[in-house]
C-alpha cells in the first residue's frame, strides 16, 4: 500500500490539489483577457464574484453531501444559509468584527436548526421530504419577515449600526461603520499586482473564503470516502435492504442533513463576513432552487460537480448580466442589417435582464439530456475521444433504472 497523504488516496490527492490550484489562482484564471481588449467583458476577476463562487461552492458541496449521497432532495436549504447570515451578523453586532466567532456561531446555529428540521422532515422521504423542507424554509422566510422582526429587522434586513455594543472591539472610533476583519486584516482590503500588462487584484476576503472552501472540500472528500459516506450511499441505493442488514438508516441521514446544514450555515456566515448584512431574501425558495441547480448542473454525487456547477452558474450570471444590446451590436456588426437585428433580438432575450431565462433553459437541457451533469458530460466526451469512432459507450444505457450511479462511478475509477 502506498502511503496516503492527509488520509487520501493518490487520486483524491490529485483532486484536492486541482481544487487548491483552481481556488488559489482564481484571481488570475478569471482574468484571461487583457483589460483593454475586445474580450475583456468575459473577465470575471472582481473580488465580489470570486468570493461568491467560493461561498456558493461551499454551499453546493454541502448540499451535495445530502442530495448526492443519500438522494434526499431538500428544497429548503437556503433557510440554513439565511440563518447562518443572521447569526454571523449578530455576532458582529454584539461581540466583535473579527469574522471567526461569527462564522463559528453561524455553523452552530444552523446546525441546530438543521437538526430540528431534519429530525422532523426525515421521517418521510421522496417528494414528501422535498415538500416538508420547502414548507420549513418558507416558514423561516415568513417568520423572518413578520414575527421575528426584532431579531431579523424584517424587510430592511439586519445591518450594522454605529451604536452596536461590540464588546471585544472596545469603544467605537470615528463615525464610520467598522469593517469585518480577521485579526485586524480587513476583509475588503486588496493588493494589486501588475504583471504581463494586466492588473491582478488579490483580495483578502477572497483568500479567506478560498482557504475555507478548500478545507470544506477536503472534509467532503474524506466524508465521501469514509465508511460513513458508504452508509449514505447505501441509503440512496436501497434503504430497505439496509434495514434488513440490521442497520438503521435514520441516524446516518440525519447526520448528513445536519452536516449539509452546517455547510450552508458556513456559507451564510461567509456571505455575512464579506458584506455584513443579512436579509430574508436569502431564504426564499428560489434561493434553495439555485443550489439545487448548481449541484445538478455540475453533477450530483460527484466530488467536483457542485464546485464546478457553482462556479459556472455564478460566472455566467455575472457575465450574462453584463452583456447588453450595445455589446451585442459590437459582436454582430459583421452581419447584414436585417439578420443582425434578428440575432441581436434573440441574444438580448437571454442576456442582461434575461439571465434567469438562460438559467431556466440551461437547467431544463441539463436535466433532460445530461442527468449526470457537466462531470458526466466531460466523461462521455473523454471516453468518446478515447474510443474513436465507437458511437455508444457504456453510459448510454437507455434504461435509466440501470444507469450507474454517478457517485459510484467516481469512486470506482
Amino acid at each position: 500500500m502506498k502511503k496516503n497523504i492527509l488520509g487520501l488516496n493518490p487520486k483524491d490527492t490529485k483532486f484536492l490539489l486541482i481544487v487548491v490550484f483552481l481556488t488559489l489562482f482564481t484571481p488570475i484564471l478569471l482574468q484571461p483577457f487583457a483589460a483593454g481588449s475586445e474580450l475583456a467583458q468575459f473577465n470575471g476577476g472582481y473580488p465580489d464574484l470570486m468570493q461568491k463562487i467560493a461561498i456558493f461552492g461551499i454551499f453546493a458541496v454541502g448540499f451535495n453531501i445530502l442530495f448526492g449521497l443519500t438522494g434526499y432532495l431538500s428544497f429548503g436549504h437556503a433557510a440554513f444559509l439565511g440563518i447562518g447570515s443572521y447569526a454571523a451578523v449578530w455576532m458582529f453586532k454584539l461581540l466583535t468584527m473579527n469574522v471567526i466567532p461569527g462564522i463559528l456561531l453561524a455553523m452552530v446555529v444552523s446546525g441546530l436548526f438543521a437538526a430540528a428540521i431534519g429530525y422532523v422532515s426525515l421521517r418521510r422521504s421522496g417528494i414528501y421530504f422535498s415538500i416538508l423542507t420547502l414548507a420549513f424554509a418558507q416558514m423561516c422566510y415568513k417568520m423572518a419577515y413578520s414575527v421575528l422582526t426584532p431579531l431579523t429587522n424584517g424587510e430592511t434586513g439586519l445591518q450594522l449600526t454605529l451604536n452596536d455594543p461590540r464588546i471585544l472591539d472596545g469603544a467605537q472610533q470615528g463615525s464610520s461603520l467598522p469593517v469585518t476583519n480577521i485579526f485586524g486584516l480587513a476583509m475588503n482590503s486588496s493588493y494589486k499586482v501588475e504583471a504581463l500588462g494586466r492588473v491582478f487584484t488579490f483580495n483578502v476576503g477572497f483568500y479567506f473564503c478560498a482557504v475555507i472552501a478548500i478545507l470544506a472540500f477536503y472534509v467532503a472528500i474524506r466524508l465521501f470516502r469514509s465508511p460513513f459516506g458508504m452508509m449514505l450511499r447505501a441509503v440512496k441505493s436501497n434503504q430497505q435492504r439496509m434495514t434488513y442488514t440490521g442497520l438503521d438508516p435514520k441516524p446516518y441521514t440525519l447526520a448528513a442533513f445536519v452536516i449539509s446544514g452546517m455547510y450552508a450555515g458556513l456559507a451564510g456566515g461567509l456571505l455575512a463576513a464579506m458584506d455584513p448584512l443579512a436579509g430574508a431574501d436569502r431564504m426564499l425558495w428560489t434561493a434553495s432552487g439555485e443550489v439545487v441547480i448548481m449541484t445538478i448542473l455540475g453533477g450530483a454525487g460527484t466530488l467536483m460537480g457542485p464546485v464546478l456547477g457553482a462556479g459556472v452558474i455564478k460566472y455566467l450570471e455575472n457575465i450574462f448580466s453584463k452583456i447588453n444590446e450595445g455589446v451585442l451590436h459590437d459582436w454582430f456588426s459583421f452581419l447584414p442589417d436585417g439578420v443582425e437585428d434578428v440575432v441581436i433580438w434573440v441574444f438580448a432575450r437571454f442576456t442582461g435582464e434575461g439571465w434567469h431565462l438562460t438559467l431556466g433553459v440551461t437547467f431544463m437541457l441539463v436535466v433532460t439530456f445530461l442527468p449526470g451533469g457537466l462531470i458526466e458530460g466531460l466523461k462521455r466526451l473523454a471516453s468518446r475521444i478515447r474510443n474513436g469512432s465507437q458511437k455508444r459507450d457504456k453510459y448510454d444505457d437507455p434504461d435509466p433504472e440501470h444507469r450507474p450511479d454517478p457517485g459510484k462511478r467516481v469512486a470506482g475509477e
Binding site: R123, S125, Y128, S130, A135, M143, W285, G354, H356, M364
Partner: protein, 343 residues
C-alpha cells in the same frame, strides 16, 4: 358569530384557488405520475389570458371630434375601441366590461394547447425518470415560462377589473338576519367561489359519469391492465393533462380581478398548492379539494386579530404548521390512497 362567518367567507375565495390548482396537480399526478412544478405557471398563464383579452378588446383608434375641444382649444381626439365601432357602442362597451368572464372561453383552448404541448414535448420523456428529475425539469420550465411572461408583459402587476355589475359588495349579514353592513362580501369573490364549485363539480362528474372518465379512473388504478385491454391510455392521459392545465388556467383567469396578475404569482401559489396536495393526500382528488378549502379557511381564521395577539405571526405560517403536523401524524395525508408515492 359574525366574525366567524366573515372569516369563513374570506377563506373561501383563497381556498377555491388552492383547491382548483391542487385539483389539477393531483389529476396530473394521479394519471401520469408526474410531479409538476410548472403548474403554478399554468395558473399564471391563465391570469395573463385575461390580461391579453382585455388588452385586445381595448385596442382602439383615434378620431378627431371637431365639435368638442380640449382645454387648449384644439379639437378633441377621441379614442374609440374597435369593438365599439364594429358592434355599436353599447354592445362594444359591454364586451370590454365583461372581458374577464369572456377570457374563460378564450383561455380554455389556449390552456389545453399549452398543456398538450407541455406533455407531448417535455413531460412525456420523464415518466420513467425518478421524481427528483421530474421536479427539476418542471422547475426549470416554470422559470422559463415566468421569464417569458415577464418579458412580454413587464414586471409590474396589471390590474384587470371585474365587470361593473360585480364591483360592489354583497350584504351577507342582512340575508341571515344580522345587522346590515356587518358581514359584507365582494360580489366577485362570491362568484369566484361559485365558479370554483362548478368547475370542481364538472371535473368530478366528468370522471365519474362518462365512459372516458371511467377509463381514466381505471388507468389511475392500474395503468398496465387498461393498456392490455387494448385502450390507448396514454392519449387519454395526455388529454387529462390538457384538462388539468385548463382548470389551472380558468382558476387564473377568474383570479385576475382579485389579485392583479404579475409574473411571479404562479410561484407564490405553487408552493402553497403543493402543501395543499400533500395535506390532502397525494393522488386523492377529493382530498385535494377538501384540503384546499380547509387551508384557505384556516389561513383566514389565523389572520384574525385576537388570534394574532395570542400567537403573533401565526397567519403567515399556519398553512405550513398544519402541513407539518398532518404529514407527521397522517403520513398519507387526509385522504391519501395506500400505495401512492410510498417508497
Amino acid at each position: 358569530m359574525e366574525t366567524i362567518l366573515l372569516q369563513l367567507l374570506n377563506g373561501l375565495d383563497k381556498g377555491s384557488a388552492y383547491a382548483l390548482i391542487a385539483l389539477g396537480l393531483t389529476l396530473i399526478f394521479g394519471t401520469l405520475g408526474v410531479v409538476n412544478f410548472a403548474h403554478g405557471a399554468l395558473f399564471m398563464i391563465g391570469a395573463f389570458c385575461a390580461v391579453t383579452l382585455s388588452r385586445l378588446l381595448n385596442l382602439s383608434f383615434e378620431t378627431v371630434d371637431p365639435t368638442r375641444t380640449d382645454f387648449l382649444g384644439n379639437p378633441l381626439k377621441v379614442k374609440t375601441p374597435y369593438v365599439e365601432a364594429w358592434f355599436g357602442p353599447d354592445f362594444g362597451h359591454a364586451l370590454i366590461d365583461w372581458s374577464v368572464p369572456l377570457a374563460i372561453l378564450f383561455s380554455i383552448p389556449i390552456m389545453i394547447a399549452v398543456g398538450f404541448i407541455m406533455e407531448r414535448g417535455l413531460i412525456k420523456h420523464f415518466y420513467k425518470r425518478p421524481h427528483a428529475d421530474q421536479i427539476l425539469v418542471t422547475f426549470g420550465l416554470a422559470i422559463v415560462l415566468q421569464e417569458v411572461i415577464k418579458y412580454v408583459y413587464g414586471a409590474n402587476p396589471i390590474s384587470t377589473p371585474a365587470p361593473d355589475a360585480f364591483k360592489g359588495s354583497f350584504d351577507f349579514g342582512a340575508l341571515l338576519g344580522f345587522d346590515p353592513n356587518l358581514i359584507i362580501y365582494p360580489y366577485w369573490r362570491l362568484i369566484y367561489f361559485g365558479f370554483a364549485a362548478v368547475v370542481i363539480g364538472a371535473v368530478f362528474s366528468f370522471l365519474q359519469f362518462t365512459t372516458f372518465g371511467m377509463v381514466v379512473r381505471a388507468g389511475m388504478a392500474d395503468r398496465e391492465t387498461v393498456g392490455l385491454l387494448g385502450i390507448n391510455i396514454d392519449r387519454r392521459f395526455t388529454l387529462m393533462f390538457g384538462l388539468a392545465a385548463a382548470v389551472a388556467g380558468m382558476a387564473g383567469v377568474m383570479y385576475a380581478p382579485i389579485l392583479s396578475p404579475n409574473y411571479h404569482m404562479g410561484m407564490d401559489f405553487l408552493v402553497l398548492s403543493f402543501v395543499v396536495v400533500v395535506v390532502g393526500g397525494m393522488g386523492s382528488l377529493p382530498g385535494a379539494v377538501a384540503a384546499g378549502f380547509l387551508l384557505g379557511i384556516l389561513e383566514s381564521f389565523a389572520s384574525m386579530n385576537w388570534i394574532k395577539d395570542i400567537i403573533p405571526g401565526i397567519d403567515q405560517i399556519i398553512i405550513y404548521v398544519v402541513a407539518i403536523v398532518i404529514l407527521l401524524t397522517r403520513p398519507r395525508g387526509l385522504m391519501g390512497r395506500k400505495g401512492v408515492m410510498e417508497e
